[in-house]
Symmetry: C3
Subunit: 363 residues, 3 copies
């Protein structure tokens, strides 16, 4: 097993999309429920027997003073012994992340990862915003959304249209009249969720109009999602329509459509891509998947994110596996002579944080 290249190892990361971590104790069932995108294991199986589960035992166990490959029970016992706070501190502290962009709109009593190292900026979850604002009545809904976006202080907005209505969005910007009608229909549906394509489009257009980069959940996630409706190619008409605004659109995760996302990030100057969730999700296959993801995307358009949520293990593994994958990739190119050492350093700086800094106008 090789050590990552020094430049990769020492360059701090910007994690441009993640969530908070849990501060309390977790039993095995609760831990497994947060480890993958499954909420429950099949009878007779364990979600520790997944790529990410093996990675936790291999890489996180030593951070908790256990030998690599400690058993799940030993790992959870030691985790409880140290307490969540110390575990979070160790795992996030060792991740080498200088800045977290945090979508805090997920359920649970979550602690900002920056509480354990680095700093953080807010990402505004658009559907959550709409759900908070719709209750005050449909008539003023568009203006209330605009006002909230204007004063949000967030560095970016996040759309989960992929989960709610799919990515095959009509590219046209909806009129306020259409938005009000959609908002009026909402309570009638009986669900508290923002799941109307008119509203999804409205939220994205309004955020971009205000200069807020928009992150889209793309590709795999939990079982609420229909994967074929989360193909980033479906976004193409909308990407084309918002291109004149010149505001970044960031395609998150993308697996198994990461090659398609790379294509979009190549041909549209305002489109960026990452591997997000898939970085830790595929465990020791991260290098193979990253190599595919980077086939078409310009190096100036690829970002790092962990999509870490609830378990600090995910923030830790995201950073660790990303660095190892990037290092493997660059080392292969250096060894075959297809890249110069100088370019390897430059690429590392871009995809570790430079691109995020440029896309989000940070600093």
């Amino acid at each position: 097993m090789e050590t990552p290249l020094a430049v990769v190892e020492t360059t701090p990361l910007i994690d441009h999309h993640c969530h908070g971590v849990l501060g309390g104790e977790l039993d095995r069932r609760a831990f497994e429920a947060r480890l993958t995108e499954a909420s429950v294991a099949a009878p007779g199986t364990s979600l520790f027997d997944t790529a990410v589960g093996f990675a936790v035992r291999r890489w996180c166990a030593p951070v908790l003073d256990l030998p690599p490959h400690a058993s799940p029970d030993a790992y959870l016992e030691r985790r409880a012994e140290l307490g969540a706070d110390e575990v979070n501190r160790r795992l996030i502290g060792a991740a080498g992340v200088e800045l977290f962009l945090v979508d805090a709109g997920l359920p649970g009593e979550l602690v900002d990862p920056a509480a354990y190292g680095g700093r953080s900026l807010d990402v505004l979850r658009l559907e959550r915003l709409a759900e908070l604002l719709v209750g005050e009545g449909a008539a003023g809904f568009p203006d209330r959304v605009r006002a909230a976006l204007g004063r949000s202080g967030a560095v970016a907005a996040k759309s989960i249209a992929a989960y709610r209505v799919g990515l095959d969005l009509d590219p046209a910007r909806p009129s306020d009249g259409e938005v009000v009608r959609a908002a009026s229909r909402w309570p009638a549906s009986g669900s508290g969720r923002c799941a109307d394509p008119v509203l999804s489009r409205f939220l994205v257009w309004e955020a971009l109009e205000r200069g807020l980069p928009v992150q889209f959940h793309v590709g795999y996630g939990d079982s609420d999602l229909d994967l074929h409706r989360a193909d980033p190619a479906l976004l193409t008409p909308l990407l084309r329509a918002v291109q004149p605004l010149g505001v970044p659109v960031l395609l998150l995760h993308n697996y198994p459509f990461h090659r398609t996302a790379g294509y979009l990030a190549q041909v549209f100057p305002h489109v960026y891509a990452d591997l997000g969730l898939a970085t830790h999700g595929v465990g020791d296959r991260a290098a193979a998947v990253l190599a595919e993801a980077l086939e078409l995307v310009p190096c100036g358009k690829f970002l790092y994110s962990s999509d870490g949520y609830a378990l600090a293990e995910l923030h830790h593994l995201g950073a660790l596996l990303y660095r190892r994958a990037l290092s493997d990739l660059l080392r292969g190119k250096l060894e075959s002579g297809s890249l110069s050492g100088e370019d390897a350093v430059r690429i590392t700086r871009m995809v570790s944080g430079g691109n995020a800094r440029r896309a989000y106008r940070i600093d």
Copy 2:
């Protein structure tokens, strides 16, 4: 070339989806017609010049006492000399399969592979059942299907909805009235084939209701299929609807959607995946494809199948290439330190037969 890991080499396989083998002689044209999913080669080309064709010459030739890479004609000459019975005995005997789950609903004078080693259990082909029962009249069709399923003795059912109507099935369970109407329309269509989405859904629901695991053909197959309609993501609404039944749904083959199948097998506790047909279909690329297939799927949800049909070479190569692929994969993980030896043994046992035993409640 390395020998597979001992545990992989010696653990017997359960082939959870295959068909029978031909007992008679095959000339070159007839052999090539069964070697891949093509029924005929382009003029001036040979279907031996495919990944599976090269694998037959490399791996099956020595089983018939020929040197590796024997020419197609030499191979077929020796095959004829030994006779199909001896060839089947040798190839299936050397596959190391303890149990075959056999879908015997395909055309041809086929011999159960267990005639040459191991034992077998029946898989009931749902569309074939419907085709046999519809002739007795539409009125009693739903009850006749239920009765037949109840007394079938099969260990699983198999749906080829992907071939007939595509996998974008309405998740709702159809009423008997709808089924009777669909069955009445059938003869009018002039075709003997069950190709109505109402019937496809009905058959799947009824099998699962009776506790019969349902295998779905997913992904590539012969030229009868529209590949984009065989994407397992299209099944998501139905998978969600049948989840409360708690009965396994097994996604077969899946190539080139094997990563999507892995996602479904992760997030739905009742969903399982394999590589089936693709294992021998991609020849010496089996390790690369298997590595992709296993990125997301929990180790407790992946199974082995050969989809061997007509040629015992396919049953043999399925097992041989699966073992070599699994061994390559595990050896890589052991060498890089990402997996412990104990886990490698445990994973081997799960994906060789343990998962099939659990999913089908065998023994």
Copy 3:
């Protein structure tokens, strides 16, 4: 870094799909605009920081007497110093291509690559033909198309239906009445572009009826394209319908659907596939992508193309990266023992030019 296998290095290529090269000077912006499928880089980024950009610096710089990895500016300075004509002569001369099939229907003052080495044959761009002929009136349009196809002298026709209407074409051959009606609607749309599915189908059917092989753009391209509508699986009904004509249909590029294209080229005897644009587009990942592309396709059905356009670098890199990829692939198979040396030679000859010669009835 290993030298390619001698047989791969020395076998001349047939580049069965490319375009002309520019004869004039190019500043950095103009060069970058032609290097990838992007027309412009994002602010603060360079399209040289892409797989193909790194490959230009690695492989083309030495052809212009520069060290590998020369900077973009040094490269373009040297390019200007030598002059486009000398650059084209060197890059195309060193590509080792004996025959170019040239689609000359793209905009720009383009020089036939055969002006710099090898010879060329014409590929007729179907939509361009329709655009030239529709102005003379809708009534006689079908007959004028047929006459033009009959006297074209082209070795093949090319369809960009993927760009204009998507590949989910109705398989039915349109009647002349339908075609005339579609042609009549055309000027009313105000666009000069042929973008009507009836016309796309008509053009393909007419070309194939006259024995002209039809090349389809498939998969990725520039931002005009909706990638999910360029999935070759969508062509399946049309492929099935034209199969009785027995005339080759050639799926170009195919990335990221190259496995799907391989499936189609396996099951339909008249279907062929290549990697085209992706060969240079993915740079040093060409070997990995080629390995995927060849998983299912019979060796007698895979062709080489560069899709080189405007920059002779692309014709050069296409050939160079294809040869290196093929060599890596074959060397891996030879070393693992999965292929004989004799077969490696035979495969090289097929996929370098033999298959193109057969499919297009050249010589």
